[in-house]
């Protein structure tokens, strides 16, 4: 284990200039049956970044794992933009409107970014989730969804 961590550290030193981190904010929101929200993706890297956004409904299991699926019929989600190009050290905000006809609705907005390029081998794509819990009433929506799933943690 120590060897692995040492190698990781060495790798970070060697490839330090190419380390590229992406941030989603906020990561979790709660809202009522109809909500208008937004989230930001920050490109912490030094090269421009193409971002694409897709939406999934999801269900939690007792551990809080999310099982994703295509958007449920009762979910009407309008994304203002499905993709964007973010400049180095830049931030882009994606707006959306969500209507949930049969609450609660749990939706993950997944932002995907390909970091490198290669003609052979494997590219690394980072995907960050903006998690939306929509209920009849906004307050404690996430807590109620988790409780209904039997999730043990808060």
């Amino acid at each position: 284990m120590n060897k692995v961590l040492s190698l990781l550290f060495l790798q970070l030193l060697v490839f330090g200039s190419s380390v590229s981190a992406q941030t989603v904010s906020p990561s979790i929101v709660e809202c009522g049956k109809k909500c208008r929200g937004e989230f930001s993706i920050t490109n912490n890297g030094l090269t421009p970044l193409a971002v694409s956004v897709e939406a999934r409904s999801f269900t939690l299991d007792t551990l809080g794992h999310a099982t994703n699926r295509p958007l449920d019929p009762g979910v009407d989600l309008k994304l203002e933009e499905g993709s964007a190009r973010i400049s180095p050290k830049g931030t882009h905000t994606f707006g959306y409107q969500l209507k949930c006809s049969v609450p609660p609705c749990s939706v993950a907005l997944l932002s995907s970014m390909v970091l490198g390029h290669t003609a052979e081998g494997i590219l690394v794509r980072v995907q960050l989730a903006h998690t939306v819990y929509a209920c009849e009433k906004q307050k404690d929506c996430r807590k109620r969804v988790r409780a209904a799933a039997g999730a043990t943690a808060k």
Partner: protein
Amino acid sequence: MNTEYTVNILNKVTFVIAVLTLSLLSGPQSQAQTTSNAAAVTMTFAVNSSMTVAATPSSIVFTPTDSKNATASAAIAIVTNWNLAVGGGNVFTVAYFASIPAALTNGTLNIPASDVFASVNGGAAAACTLANVNVAAGNPGAICPQIFGGIGVAAQGTHSDSLLLSLTSPTAFAVASYSGTITISAQAT
């Protein structure tokens, strides 16, 4: 006598002028001190919850060790960082391929996800064929062993992991240049 009297008068006049000058100079300052209002500056600071994932290197290549096996040029170092509104939530990081039969392909020839093995933090390598969709991953059957599963995590935290990929096929890999994409997916629930 007259001269002494004149000098005395001049001294007194000089003294009076000096006092008046000093009072004029200090006047505006004392006035400012007595008439200024206490200014209140309102400060606000809103911090949204956030999650950051860093993965490096951004691409890897495989080097064959024999006709049926290949190792990756480097492990993928993955750092998951979160700042949530409350503690006790869950944070998951997983890796998956978009296609089960063609994790890598040259357009015609494919290497399936079952031939791609992942070792997390130096653990035993296992095929990327899991079906349980932990987090945002959307392709049951092409998921690698879980990279990080934080259950009941603190509100703020960072977790560092490594993912070393390798290729193992029951038959010799067909001659071709293959490429693919692995998705590192993170979600807080």
